[in-house]
């Protein structure tokens, strides 16, 4: 069965999240958002998904504080973070390139990363662009560190890094990434070449499993429609789905 890169990535992330009780998804994360909604569909309702800015997939009534308070209470089990730069210790940089504060390139800012990375047990780093300018030896600014000293309160942290080329697992003890699978059509050498940081490469690196047909059907069906609420542009581009205007009372 044919599939797009987006659909492959949705299935990759969904596999990491099966059985999760409560997944929260940030504002600029349509692929992780779709993965979370797929997991919910597969869970027959036992997985809760809170998509920020969605009309229908969020449960907040306490304003901007609630996501963070909820995470602090230990009620959020998985979240996604990205990064303009990501390094081999899973540090992420959402602030900019060059010497802070007067940087050469300025991005938007760290948002919730410096908190959620510490308190959400399973944080999946997701960044499609897999080039040496993103996957760097050392980030120029640490928005949120990948690892902490032993005495720092940190129930949460990085679980894996998913890109358009491969999946890295994060090894907390070694404080490094390990190449887990390479997406079909990509190679280990290509990953090494495009990654600025060092990582562990096992003797054999399997291919990333392709999307299962039943999941592709779910993605293109209910998930595509659900994801069109928070991410209309994405749903149109990837699934050709446009949400009919439907306002809450």
């Amino acid at each position: 069965m044919e599939y797009s890169t987006e659909e492959l990535l949705i299935c990759v992330i969904a596999r990491m999240l099966e059985g999760t009780r409560h997944i929260a998804v940030g504002t600029a994360s349509p692929i992780p958002g779709s993965a979370a909604l797929l997991v919910r569909a597969l869970s027959k309702g036992t997985t809760r998904v809170s998509v920020l800015n969605s009309t229908h997939h969020q449960f907040w009534t306490d304003g901007a504080m609630e996501l963070f308070d909820c995470a602090g209470q230990g009620r959020i089990d998985a979240f996604f973070l990205g990064g303009g730069q990501i390094d081999g210790q899973a540090n992420i940089n959402l602030v900019g390139v060059g010497d802070y504060p007067q940087q050469k390139v300025r991005w938007s800012g760290s948002f919730g990363s410096a908190y959620l990375y510490f308190v959400v047990p399973k944080v999946i780093l997701f960044r499609e662009e897999h080039t040496p300018r993103v996957m760097v030896p050392k980030v120029d600014f640490v928005s949120a560190p990948g690892v902490s000293e032993a005495n720092v309160y940190r129930p949460g942290g990085p679980h894996a890094l998913v890109s358009s080329r491969c999946v890295f697992a994060f090894d907390k003890d070694r404080q490094r990434f390990r190449l887990k699978t390479v997406h079909p059509g990509h190679t280990v050498d290509e990953v090494i070449e495009n990654t600025g940081f060092e990582f562990d490469v096992p003797a054999t690196v399997p291919d990333t499993p392709v999307p299962e047909p039943d999941r592709l059907a779910l993605i293109r069906g209910s998930v595509a429609h659900e994801v069109a609420d928070p991410y209309p542009e994405f749903a149109k581009r990837v699934f050709g789905v446009t949400l009919t205007q439907e306002k809450s009372a």
């Binding site: 504002t27 901007a64 602090g72 802070y100 300025r106 800012g109 948002f111 919730g112 410096a114 308190v119």
Partner: protein, 277 residues
């Protein structure tokens, strides 16, 4: 209706309450941004604002920064979201025109809640080891006095001079309905003054109906209200209208250069007043 001194005849007179150098706390893009009031502030050429975003901001901050109204931005992020990076903000940082107090969302929210509670500081988990702490001289790491060997960050309370936002409703007593955007309650409590534009007026008293009261900021905290239909435009207002995507796309394109930004101000900020005069 009593003449409670809270009702302003228009947005331009309302924003006179916001003085040069004020620490102004503003909501996030989807929470009710007082864009009409922001344009009035640009027209008034307000200077040296210290913006505090709750906890991030977008077009509003970008406009004020590009127009030279801002000295400092305290925020977890400034972005146009799906319309891209905030171009005036980016330029202002790279040229050193403004000071940025970078932080993370829950830190700014917790510090505002500390302001609301009248407590001098508040602790927060996370942050340790990030460059946010390294570059924020006003954040402190202490040992948690309730545990052994447990470092924790303390954030000083934020007490803004003014909270500025746009809400769906206000009544003639000065009560403002914010719905479930509870962070607007927090900033109204934390700030010394609260200045609000509203879509429309509500007949009766919002506090008399418990369904409305739950989402109401009482007049006690409010210093001024003016009517501004479509007052969040081109941003959206929850439950009322969506963002004007075409306009945002056009802004993002114009503001990519300084000249384009100036032209945008001329077309969409300054001319409006000229037309009204």
């Amino acid at each position: 209706m009593t003449d409670n001194g809270l009702m302003f005849p228009n947005v331009d007179s309302l924003v006179e309450q916001i003085l040069d150098g004020a620490k102004v706390v503003i909501p996030a893009t989807r929470s009710g941004v007082a864009m009409e009031a922001t344009r009035a502030l640009v027209r008034r050429r307000v200077k040296n604002l210290h913006l505090v975003a709750t906890p991030a901001a977008g077009l509003q901050a970008d406009l004020l920064i590009g127009a030279g109204c801002v000295a400092t931005v305290e925020s977890a992020g400034i972005t146009l979201d799906e319309y891209g990076q905030a171009p005036a903000f980016g330029r202002a940082v790279t040229t050193g025109q403004i000071k940025v107090m970078d932080t993370t969302c829950p830190a700014i929210l917790a510090a505002l809640q500390a302001g609301e509670k009248g407590i001098p500081f508040i602790p927060l988990r996370g942050l340790i080891g990030s460059d946010l702490v390294r570059f924020r001289d006003d954040y402190k790491v202490i040992d948690n006095p309730f545990a052994e060997d447990d470092p924790v960050v303390l954030l000083p309370a934020i007490v803004p001079d003014v909270a500025l936002y746009h809400a769906p409703l206000a009544d003639h007593h000065g009560n403002v309905w914010i719905g479930k955007q509870m962070e607007l309650k927090v900033i109204s409590h934390a700030a010394r003054e609260t200045i609000v534009t509203v879509e429309e007026f509500y007949d009766g008293n919002l506090l008399d109906d418990d369904r409305m009261a739950a989402g109401t900021v009482p007049a006690l905290y409010v210093s001024g209200i003016a009517l501004a239909e479509n007052g969040a435009w081109p941003l959206g207002l929850p439950g009322a209208y969506d963002v004007d995507a075409d306009h945002m796309t056009a802004y993002a394109a114009s503001a990519r250069t300084s000249d384009g930004f100036t032209q945008y101000l001329a077309d969409h900020v300054h001319t409006v007043r000229a037309a009204a005069e």
